[in-house]
Every structure is written in C-alpha cells, then in structure tokens.
Amino acid sequence: MERAKLILSQFALAGFLSVSAEGVDEAALREEAQKVFDEKVAPFVKKYCTSCHGSRAKAGINLASALKNPGGESASLHWKKAVANVKVHDMPPEDSSKKPTDEERLQFIKWVGKVKYLSKRDPGQFVIRRLTKTEYANTLRDLYGVDTSIADSLPEEVAGEGFLNSISSLQSELFLGIANKVVEQIMASKGKGLTANQKRLFGEELSKGTDPYKAARGVASSLARDAYRRPPTDAELDVLVDVYELARKNKLNHTEALGLMLKAVLVSPQFLFITPAGEPKSKESIVLLDDYQLASRLSYFLWAAPPDAALAALADEGKLHKPEVLRGQVARLLKDKRSRALFDGFGAQWLRVNDLDRRVFDPKTFPQMTTILRKSMMEEARLFFESILSENQSVARLVDSDYTFVNEPLAKVYGLDQSVLGSKMRRVKLTNPNRGGILGMSATLASTSFPNRTSPVLRGVWVLEQILGERVPPPPPDIPELEEQARSEVEGLTLRQRTELHQSEATCRNCHKVLDPIGFGLENFNAIGQWREKNDEGLAIDSAGKLPNGKSFSTPAELKGLLAQREADLARNLTERLMSYALGRQLEGYDDVVIDQLMVKIAKNHYRVRDIITEVVTSYLFTYRRIKG
C-alpha cells in the first residue's frame, strides 16, 4: 500500500514537473527568486528606471509590465535589455539625478539573473510553420528527385518575427506553379513506359484485374506518408482518391491520374506546413512531441530536409523519442552530406558570412576580391565549421585553432607559401598564431568591414554579440557615421583616433570603451583579411588593448587566446543560438532555466560542439510541447 502510494506520488511529481529530471528543485528556486525579486529587483527598478521606462516603453524597454509579470514571456527580453544597459553604465543616463553605485549595479545584474526562475515550466507550443524556401526545395529534391533550382523563383525568406509562417498570394501562386513543374518532370516520359522514379512513387503499372481505386488508395497512402511526414488520416486519403476519381472520369489514364493526385499532395497545406498528426488525448498541458513531429523537427534542424527512410521507420516504430535513439540519430544525420545545411542555414548566418559572395568591395582597393576568392572564403568558413563539428572539438577551437582550409587564391591572401596550388580546398597546418579560428579568417574579417576599409566598431560588435553572446545596446539614432564626421574635426587623425572620438562623448563612451579595443585588436587584418603592419594612413598599427575584465593583449593572437579561455560564454552563446534555430523561435523565460541545465552537462566534457547539438536535440525544449494554457 505504502509503496503504491509512493510510486503514485512520484508520478504526480513527474506530472507536475516540480522537480526536473536533473533533480533541481525548481519550486525552491522559484520561491527564492520571488523573494529576491520583491526585495531587491523591484525596488531598484522603481528607484532608477520606471520614471522613463514605465508603461510608455522608452527605447522599447517597458519595465512597468515586466514588474507586474516578471516571469512572463514578454518580460524576459525587457530584463535582458535592461541588464545590458546597466552593465555598461549606459543607463541610467549621465544626467539623471539618481544613479546606482557600481556595487548596486553588480547586485542588480546578479538578481535579475534569478528572475527566470519565476517563469512557469514551459517547452513552448509546437506552432505549425511553413517550410522555408530552402527546406521546400530540399524536400522536393529528396522526395521526387528534382533539382532544387525548381524553387528558385520563390522569394527569399526575410528576417522578421513570425514571418516564416506567413504566406501571400504571390507565394501561393509560385507553389502552385512549382507543383505543376514537379509533376511534369515526373510524367515526362509519356508513352515510353514507367521511369524508375514513377515506379518508386506510383508503383508498377496496373495489372489486369486490379481494382484501380484500391491501387490509387495505396499510392495515395505512401505519397502522403512521405509528403505529410506522418501517416495520413482516412479522411485525407479519401480526398486524394477523390482527385484520382475526378481525373479518371475525365479520361486520364491511371498514371496520369496519379500525377494529378501528386499535384494535389504538393499543394496541400499538410505538405507546405509542418503539422501535427492530431491532438493527443492527454489531460496534461505539456506532452512529449509525437515521434513524427520529432523526426521532422530533427531532420529540418540538421538537414533542412525531410526525414529519410530510417528516421521515418523509427517514428513508425515509436522509438525515436528515446534519448539513446535520438543521440544515435544526431550522430548519423551529422555524418550525412545533407548536414551541410547546418552551416548554410545556421553557421553562415551566425558568423554573418552568408552574404559575402554578394557584398560589394571597392574594386580599386581590392582588385583581387573576385567571385572565386569570395567563394573560397565561404568554403573555408564552412569546412572549418564542419571540421570542428565532425571531430567534436571544443568551442574554444572555433576561436583559436592551428589549422584552416585554403586553396591557391586564399593562400595568397594569407601570405602562405607557394606550395598551395589550384582551386581545390585543402586542410593546412598554420604556424602563424595570429591566424587560425574565426577571428583570423578572411571570410569573417571581410564580412565585418566596409567596402574600402576596416571597421573596428563592426568587428567589436560582432565579437561581443555573435561570438560571446553579449547584448550591445544600440547606438542612439542621431549619431553621424564615422565617414560623415566634419572634416575639420578628423583631419590628421588615424582611424583609431577618429573612432576614439566616440569615447569623448558621454552617450558613446560607455559602449565604445568595450567595443573598440576588441575591434582595434584585429586591425592588423585589413578589410579582406590580409595581414598588414601599417594602416591606410601609413602609420604603424597599434593592436594593444584591454578587455573589460582588465586582461590586456598586444596582438590578435593574444586577443584570440583570451577569448578562447571564455569557453563557458562561447558555449552558452552557441547553445542558445542553436536551440533558437532548432525551435524556430526566440528564447525567453523558462528557456533560460533549461539552458542552464544543459550547460552543466556540456561543461563536463570541455564544451564540445557535437555534444552541444546532441544536448539541444535531447532537451526538454526540443522534445516536449505545451498543448494547453
């Protein structure tokens, strides 16, 4: 009796999830967080912030609503922005009457760090979403053997919140047109017997005595299983058979009618959107993803492509959600060549090198920036990213490593010896400690420069935000760009001196004293990443500087070394970005608590990059979803 009760209560606990799988007592943390919030955070905010950042939301920071519901979804972004500003002494402004002491600032940052425990345990909903242009093209390629260029006419996806779900009549028109093309390509060999592709999709030709409608239903079932990424319902099959019937009644032969059925599949929302098979009949408000959703989430994350036969089979068997199975699948998917999508879709955007091949460089200053060289630079970044991943190296190696990938044009940019010939990329060992890792790589250095010169500010922001995951407050809207500073003001000054003008103004100083030293630490690399001793003005480059933590460096190599030591920050940033990419949403509230738990596990084995991906995939956020509330 007693034992039964105990087991029951454990179930109840697991159901209410007050103790996480890692044994962290979230209820106790929540209680403590509430206390800290009431006694510390709220008074600080009321004293220093709300007179400007009340409900009128100056600079997009609304602390009145965040005070009311500190653990709410929308509050976490406001807290993060607030912390970023308080941290660099950007807020409260210089001229305000009440200003916190340095000690108060530090305390506030620490306290706000606990606010996340006020958020309810929540993996987020599984919102249906449209396939992106890339995913759509890859899906057509994998399922129907067509070339991905078939989707080229679709508009590029644009940045913005929630737009991946949006669809307009222009897009729908193109989807319909592309569906026609796919079917045309598959049906192309009319009168010549079935092609292998047709056989695979539509089965053998009808033998005498077979009921064509029964055969059509069978084909519908397999087409829809692949295209909808889950078993179709009976009602869904009825509709596809209706389409077949419609075609037959209009004198189309069996194969042609199946072609029409395929067209119907391709314009179905079940194909264009990733949708659930049905709502679970659970009373819980939070449930595991069903294995079909999980298979899609996983394959679109790592491949930007639909689940393959092996993943689909595991989903059919109901085995995929088991952690050890998931781990195995992550390893398998990452070995497949389709995983280059993880660089194209994630890595390139994360490192901001995704538009390098289309960026404009001043042809007079950099005549060598040909299409071939830009492509080689992108390839270097990709091969390097993939090598870190496939060898499961630590995130620190991303920043500081002793090898890279080059071909002849790149070797010239790097001033490497003459032995690297031809356009083929190959791995080379580096002896120059200033190179190696993403900070000494021409793709990233060029992407963070202007067409004709370097930008220490852009590079500084890039390192802080993209690599270390810090939040840099945006500049005020009315500052002139460096180029536009009055000539009399800047005549005879070096870029460094001109940039340092930022630091003479109160509104600029606080952020720029953090950004600029990092950017200037990379000044030995020109706007396309070549090494130089002298700057554009012909003066010797001074790359020495100090990080906010007081540690100083005098060369890019030393800067890289210092940044590589911040493994925990590098890993957390990468984990958060990967998670956000995998879930297709921003992280907020409770997500922070989950990331904290992942970081403990990831730290145990030196923050290895493939481990990070495995932890993301097996995490609570990836595998569960909220269905109510």
Binding site: I128, S166, I167, S169, E173, A264, V267, R358, R359
Partner: protein, 425 residues
C-alpha cells in the same frame, strides 16, 4: 462534393460567359444615357528616408514648387500635380523609427492602441481600396518593389509598405520578368484540385490552435485569390490583345533602367485595366549596404548621408538621389498622361501619390512629410498648386480622402480627424 460540382469545376461552363465589368467602362449608362465615368486607378510610390527639405518644400508664400531643385522634373506634368505640406504621423517612441516609417506608412494605424506587431500596423490603404474595386479587374493589386539588395539582413518592415494586416505582408515582386508574367501570361487553373484540398483541410484544421488556423487561413485565402485571378485573366485575354512588349531579359540593368522598366509595367497594367491598385517601393527604408546608382556620381550610403544633411556637400549629394527618384516618378506620370482615355488621359483618371514616411532623415521626425499627389482623380482633386495644411494634420486624413475617392465609403481611417481639407476641387 457531388458529381455536378466536379464537372462544373473541370469544364467551367456553369453560368455561361460572364459579363466583363472592364468592358463596360466607357459604355453608356443604360438609365441616364450618359457616358460612365472612367474607373479610377490608385498607386502609391514610396521613397525612403524623406527628401532634403530645403530642396523640396518652397519657402512660405512661394507657390512655385516646380522650381524647387528636387521637384523640377515634374514640370511637364506640373499642372496635374499637387504638393501637400503639413502632413504628419505620430511616431511611436521606443520602437525603431525606420521600420515604422515604411511598415506603418499606408495604414497610419492608431499609434495609441494595443500593438499586435512590433509597430502599429494594420491593413493598408491599397488593400482596403482593392477590397472594394478589385471586382473590376483581373488582378486584385500589384505590389512592386525596386529593392535590388540581395542581402536580406535588414527587416521585412523596411522593405514593405503594403500589408494585408499586422505581420501579414503582401509579398512584393522585384523581378520585372515576374511582373511581366503576372500581367501578360495566363496560368493554368488547378481549381478543381485546390477546391478538394481546401475542403479537406477544414477537416484537419479542427485540431489546431486558433493561431495555427489563422496561418492556414492565410494560405487558403491566397490560393482562392490565385484561382480567381487565373480565371479572370483567361477570360480577359479571350477578348483582349496582349500589349506589344517583349518579355524583359536577364541582362543586367542600371538602377534607372530597372526602375523605369517596373514603371512601364505599372503603366501597362493600368492602361489595360489589368489592375487598378498598386504600390511601388522605389527603394527600401534604411538598408545598411550602399545602393549603387549607376546614373549618379553617388557611392555613399543613402541612409548614412541623411544623418548629416546639414552639411552643404552632403545636401547636394542627397538632392541628386531625391531628384533621381522624382525624375523616374515623373516619367511614369508623363507616360500615363500620354495615353488618351475617353475625354482625358490615363493620368486624369488616376490618383498617384509619391511620399515618404520620414519627414527628415536627420532628426527622424514624422512631421512635415513630403507628399505629392498626381492626377486629378477624374477631376475631383484640385491640381497644379500647393496645398498647405495646418501643422500636424494627420496623414490619415489624406488616406481617408483617397479611400473615399476610390469609393470605399469609409468615414474614418486610422487616426484621421476627417477628410483632408482643401484637397478637392
């Protein structure tokens, strides 16, 4: 679905040949025996980051706006143009100004209400008008965009003035060849299939959250829209000649050639009554990358320079860009004016606006927005003069007047306080 319905979908014979509204346009009214009024065309052109004010607005008392450096290109059609001063939008503080400029421009949505999106957005004027007039034409509306940037790092808000609603963008067409196809090619209808599919989808929709349902509804609506358009276009081309225009090729175009080509396509769309509603982005708001103007000696970032336009040399450079856009706008007006239609010209039967959502690129205010309206809307708008409105007159008042002129019957538009006084003849 029963057999009768299916046959109807397949063969499209139900109802016989429909009367085509666009054929009636210049016919006599059966009752009054008077010539019917030509249908009005509506277009809204957007130019980013405002215009340099001193070169756009004449000083008080000076009516000769056609002598202003930026507006000189309008001279040939000057009699048919109105410069409006004093229009403003309320800037919602705390959110990005440039994103707001473009994405809120044509809805001028109430800035004080609950935000359904990062910026106060709503269904935009062009779509409210299309809701009312699109039955007249095969194509509901055209959203054209001359943004050539391939780097899509900037936000969607900067790149679009035309929205079906908050967060629901009306995707623009940027490729002239795509515009050409849209206007002059007739697609194949899949209505028989899509009808079955959409009907089925309503079954599985039952399992979805309301947010998810909305997303699917967007898709269904758009598919129905397309099917309707294909049907209308095929009927249209059964009785209409296609214009004598070659499909644009893939040869690279200069900035001017490109915008001119898009303008020409717009003129053809209006001339053929293919659509009566269009928006036209001359360039997106604040794009980080410098824009290449092959025709101009201008290599800097347009946005970057607007920040320091109090310097004379910067002002001069910027005015080049401003005038370049006004020139291309004027060319569209001249083409419209060269097309005779009934007793006037196509321009007389149009209402074409050029404006920006930013009053001043330096101080980022949304006061004194630069707005030009061309075409008299069938003689209803007084043209060839400056309409000076009192300071801070809501931009929504102009939008309300335009919505009314286009026959929407609206009495309010966003934060309007009434139709724009002095606009009408």
């Amino acid at each position: 679905m029963n057999q009768v319905d299916r046959r109807k979908f397949l063969f499209g014979t139900a109802g016989g040949v429909m009367a085509l509204p666009w054929l009636e346009m210049y016919a006599e009214d059966a009752l009054t025996k008077k010539l019917k009024e030509p249908s009005l065309r509506f277009a809204s052109f957007y130019s980013p980051m405002g215009f340099v004010r001193d070169h756009f607005f004449p000083e008080e008392g000076n009516q000769n706006f056609l002598e202003m450096p930026t507006l000189r290109p309008l001279k040939k059609v000057g009699e048919k143009v109105t410069l409006i001063t004093g229009l403003s939008r309320v800037n919602v503080r705390g959110v990005d100004v440039h994103n707001q400029c473009s994405s809120c421009y044509l809805s001028s949505a109430n800035p004080h209400g609950e935000l359904k999106s990062p910026y106060p957005m709503d269904r935009t004027l062009d779509h409210l008008i299309a809701d009312k007039v699109s039955h007249r034409t095969p194509i509901r509306s055209l959203e054209l965009n001359c943004n050539t940037f391939k780097d899509l790092k900037e936000s969607i808000y900067l790149d679009n003035i035309s929205w079906y609603g908050p967060e629901h963008v009306a995707t623009t067409i940027k490729d002239p060849r795509q515009v050409y196809k849209r206007l002059f090619k007739t697609g194949k209808s899949d209505k028989d299939i899509t009808d079955l599919i959409l009907q089925d989808a309503s079954n599985f929709e039952k399992n979805l959250s309301s947010h998810d349902k909305d997303k699917l509804d967007e898709y269904f609506t758009s598919v129905r829209e397309i099917e309707k358009q294909i049907e209308k276009l095929s009927k249209y081309y059964a009785t209409h000649e296609r214009p004598d225009m070659k499909e644009p090729d893939e040869e690279p175009m200069t900035r001017g050639e490109y915008i001119r080509m898009m303008g020409k396509l717009l003129v053809l769309a209006f001339q053929g009554d293919l659509t009566h509603v269009a928006t036209f982005m001359l360039a997106p708001e604040r794009w980080g990358t410098p824009q290449r103007f092959h025709e101009l000696n201008f290599t800097k970032s347009h946005h970057g320079l607007t920040h320091s336009q109090d310097r004379q040399d910067v002002k001069k450079a910027l005015t080049q860009v401003d005038r370049f856009y006004v020139e291309l706008f004027a060319e569209v007006l001249e083409q419209l004016d060269s097309i005779k239609e009934g007793e006037g010209t196509l321009l007389d039967h149009s209402m074409i606006t050029l404006g920006s959502g930013l009053g001043d690129g330096k101080d980022h205010t949304m006061d004194e927005l630069p707005i030009i309206v061309a075409g008299s809307a069938n003689g209803r708008i007084k043209t060839g003069h400056i309409l000076n409105c009192p300071e801070k007159t809501p931009l929504a008042n102009l939008w309300l007047s335009q919505a009314q002129l286009m026959g929407t019957g609206m009495e309010r538009f966003a934060d309007s306080t009434g139709p724009l006084k002095g606009l009408l003849a």
